[in-house]
Symmetry: C2
Subunit: 265 residues, 2 copies
């Protein structure tokens, strides 16, 4: 079982689009996949058309109340489940400020889960708040979606510091294993420059024993493709909405690489 | 004097790019412009090449310590100043949790400012946290940068609720005055659909007396243009970096509309 947190505190880089479509591609290939949406915007939930009823149970209830995770899991397709977020999660930072072990509530609740999955994928908000920390203490690995733009590169050092602290204090299993290039504009000089910088950094850090020293980037780069931005408005994954698009092709190819890694492990 | 908060809790929609380049265009036209960067990512500061020294004074010191705003203002060009952010602002939510009047610290500090400006522009993080609230209690108006994508549309109702609460409880002058379409892909069906939805909403809300009832969208739409994403890596505005690009043209046109509004008022 691989449990993967999709994080990057830079906004709008493709976290949700990757969480949903990678999960859908892995499910299509026969894996049992569970998405956990920790973003108060609840975009992963919306993307799959879940959480539209008035008072549905959500991750807010799991983190702030006695509701077990098993009660907050909805099946959306063959082999694909989601635990939706809720806008009330935005207040969780304050509501949990005084809670004992506020960063490991989710890991604690995971103990009582009765089903097993091949992949658990956490979608996180664009911040390093208590919600993201709950994903980081529960997951075993991190995928970092990265838009190859200069501003997107700049926040990485803070992100790596936070990951390192979590690994040392709360979750020794945690590793940044993969970088996924998203919203990739093929052929622009900027994309190539930023990608070269990242590749140089990853190679330079190899075998230094840090939390990211084994990280590599996937060969698959997710190209900018308007179909990926249209799919959420129909409550569908890219495969249901535009099965022949570049977006569908890229996320299938990404899922293939992920499965090959799983086999090799 | 117009004081404008650039907010949208959706990440990566063009807040920083708009704050920096609109400010630069207004300054080029002879207005005295002051940018206040409240985003812990400090991207507006980085975009203008400020805050690279080790222990520079920043908005963190203003909000959490006795440092006056006048000591945290650096001139970056003719008629253009910036008060930089700092990564330590990320902890401000927790550090200020118990502070008296934590949402109005900035407004309080504004009382002691010795200079006058034509425009004050606040760049905000992608969340409705205490940092954004400080901008909302200080500014008189809000510009909402909006990427015409479905997911970007979905968070608007929460944003409007928050703005309404701030206007009622903390800042009766606050109005959402303008929407700016950013990262506009001309000719895509999605963009047209989302823009139609927004325009319908704005017209429908006209004269209802709410905080957004007078809001309109600018005629200028900021087109997607790779030069806008390259400029920050040189610490420059779009005008210094690529003066003949679509990006420069669009932000000049936007500044023209803003100045026409100011004249008409
Ligand atoms: N490869 C792509 N091509 C075109 N549009 C994309 C692509 N990936 C994501 N998008 C669109 O870009 C916007 C940002 O993507 P997304 O919401 O997945 O990013 P995010 O990192 O989850 O954002 P946030 O920080 O707000 O959580 C969305 O409107 C999405 O539909
Ligand atoms: N019109 C545009 N054309 C091309 N790239 C753009 C445009 N506007 C912004 N960008 C790029 O898109 C990315 C997101 O923009 P920006 O950082 O301004 O958004 P933001 O809303 O401030 O993000 P955050 O939520 O992280 O603060 C950046 O890499 C920026 O350089
Ligand atoms: Mg998201
Ligand atoms: Mg920004």
């Amino acid at each position: 079982m691989r449990s993967i947190a999709i994080i990057n505190q830079k906004g709008g880089v493709g976290k949700t689009t990757t969480a949903v479509n990678l999960a859908a591609a892995l499910a299509e290939a026969g894996n049992r996949v569970w998405i956990i949406d920790l973003d108060p915007q609840a975009h992963a939930s919306l993307h799959l058309g879940v959480g539209m009823e008035e008072d549905y149970l959500s991750m807010y209830d799991v983190l702030t109340d006695d509701v077990p995770l098993d009660q907050v899991r909805y099946q959306v397709d063959d082999n694909l489940w989601i635990s939706p977020a809720h806008i009330d999660l935005a207040a969780a930072e304050m509501e949990l400020a005084g809670a004992v072990g506020r960063e490991i509530i989710l890991r604690d609740k995971m103990q009582d889960v009765s089903e097993s999955y091949d992949y658990i994928i956490f979608d996180c908000p664009p911040s390093l708040s208590v919600l993201t920390l709950n994903a980081l203490t529960t997951a075993n690995e991190i995928f970092l979606p990265l838009q190859p733009h200069f501003l997107a590169l700049h926040g990485l050092s803070k992100l790596l510091k936070t990951i390192d602290l979590v690994a040392r204090r709360l979750n020794p299993n945690l590793k940044l294993t993969n970088v996924v290039y998203c919203l990739y504009d093929r052929g622009t000089r900027l994309a190539n420059e930023v990608i070269n910088d990242v590749e140089y950094f990853l190679t330079d850090q190899r075998n230094t024993g840090s939390v990211w020293s084994d990280a590599t980037s996937f060969d698959t780069r997710i190209r900018r493709n308007i179909r990926l931005a249209e799919a959420p408005s129909y409550g569908q994954s890219i495969f249901q909405y535009a099965n022949d698009s570049n977006g569908a092709q890229d996320y299938r190819s990404l899922a293939m690489e992920v499965m090959q890694q799983t086999q090799a492990a």
